[in-house]
Symmetry: C2
Subunit: 282 residues, 2 copies
């Protein structure tokens, strides 16, 4: 069964739109992009379009590749102080002369709708519920909940340990109230297959096409594919694929996310949810 | 082979003492205790004694069981503002009328030598090295390093997911530079034995005597026992035991920590290290 993220995201966004329509003031999301990386531009545009769809004001701030770190930080400070800005997002990756950690820590944790600030990460790990949860883990949770896929007493194996997916996903799921068993593996894990085969829920976030093959997956498991990889086919036409060999793994999995149309739309929907959450706490 | 925490802790403390002797000013650790829970008093006393041993000034603040939350928070604020106080520690557990999360978040993260503040927890998870690492995970790391036990490409299974041991230990070990595979299991994990048996390094932090039995352990694995359980023998004499059936597990393990004398002394040594770290950054 396909975990149709596009459909669930749409439902989330419709719910959000209705709530925003009822409100006199509107939430505002500030999106900062540095330079002209084509993927970054495409991501940012998609976020801006979604804002419009649900009735969130977006404020797009485009900065030159060579903007100084100091200038960027002062722009963030200004946004921190603006009462009518609910969320601040700096599109990654940043040019090498800018320290991404400094940027993350400068964004007020109360407007950190990406959930990357150490305070929000720490709250997530400690089980506090008043912080922001990074968008991809939150989107995965919403998707699983939507299909009534239980986590309690399940073994969740996460392949990948990035600061934006693997780590916060583990932090979110490690909680007593979730009551799952969590393994965080990666491409260097010894005999990875022996671990992934024990997963009731397998999350792939490695960034390599066809990394997860059918022999690595338990029959009837739930497979969540976070990968977004651009590959060029023999016909010279490029397409987006995930980390999972969808064709073969889908024959064994009970539920599986497609790429595109799985986790991706859920991630953007979560960003809108986080922005609205911040707006409610204005 | 026994991982003698008492011996390693002693070496750590001697090293620290030498450094502190060379310094004109001395580090100061403020220890707050609320009420008169006998275990808490015993823990606090042990910490104060260790401070004296290494040359750290300790400031013991004893508050009545019925002290108001407001009063406690204002005492913490005062300590935050004192330039010559390097570390602030509030002994847990706290009486029910005091919110422990509020207490944790009130302690300045720069003096949070217990490493429980969300910022320090978040930094640990994100892989930043400028925060404080909670004392038990840090002590375990120091102990393993001291015996040259490698973590890279090893499977570490942590049984227990508390905010003071399991979660920060997982956060510390999840990093790319450590390159281990981490599983966080617990007493509700389905078929726990099948998971613990795959552990190269098994950490038990459950709080139940003899929870980890020999059949749950792989031959040649490293077993770290974080448990501190008081049991009363048939002779009515109480003694402290860990979570591991030491007698039988020690026959299979390549390395094992005793209880007492394993992780416990390392935890206190780490507290002294964290206090000194804070002092250096005064």
């Amino acid at each position: 069964m396909i975990l149709n993220g596009r459909k669930v995201a749409k439902e989330v966004l419709i719910g959000l739109k209705e709530k925003i329509q009822k409100s006199v003031e509107k939430p505002t999301l500030a999106v900062i992009i540095v330079g002209s990386n084509p993927s970054s531009i495409s991501y940012v545009n998609r976020k801006v379009v979604k804002c419009e769809e649900v009735g969130i004001n977006s404020m797009l701030i485009e900065l030159a590749e060579d903007v100084s770190e100091k200038k960027l930080l002062s722009i963030i400070e200004d946004l921190n102080n603006k009462k009518d800005v609910d969320g601040i997002l700096v599109q990654l990756p940043l040019p090498k002369h800018i320290n991404p950690l400094k940027v993350t820590e400068t964004i007020s944790y109360k407007k950190d709708v990406d959930g990357f600030h150490p305070i929000n990460m720490g709250k997530l790990l400690l089980g506090y519920t008043d912080g922001f949860i990074p968008c991809t883990p939150l989107g995965i949770k919403t998707l699983l909940d939507n299909f009534d896929i239980p986590l309690a007493k399940k073994h969740v194996v996460i392949v990948g340990r990035s600061n934006i997916v693997g780590k916060p996903l583990a932090a979110m799921l490690i909680q007593r109230k979730t009551n799952a068993t969590i393994t965080i593996a990666h491409s260097y894990t010894q005999d990875l297959k022996s671990i992934t085969k024990t997963a009731d829920i397998l999350v792939a976030s490695v960034g390599r096409p066809n990394f997860i093959t059918a022999d690595m997956v338990k029959d009837g498991s739930v497979v969540i594919d976070v990968g977004i990889n651009k590959i060029v086919g023999t016909n010279h036409i490029s397409k987006i694929v995930g980390d999972v060999d969808f064709e073969n793994v889908s024959k064994k999995a009970s539920f599986i996310t497609p790429v595109p149309g799985g986790v991706g739309p859920m991630t953007i929907a979560s960003l809108m949810q986080n922005t609205f959450k911040s707006f409610q706490e204005r």
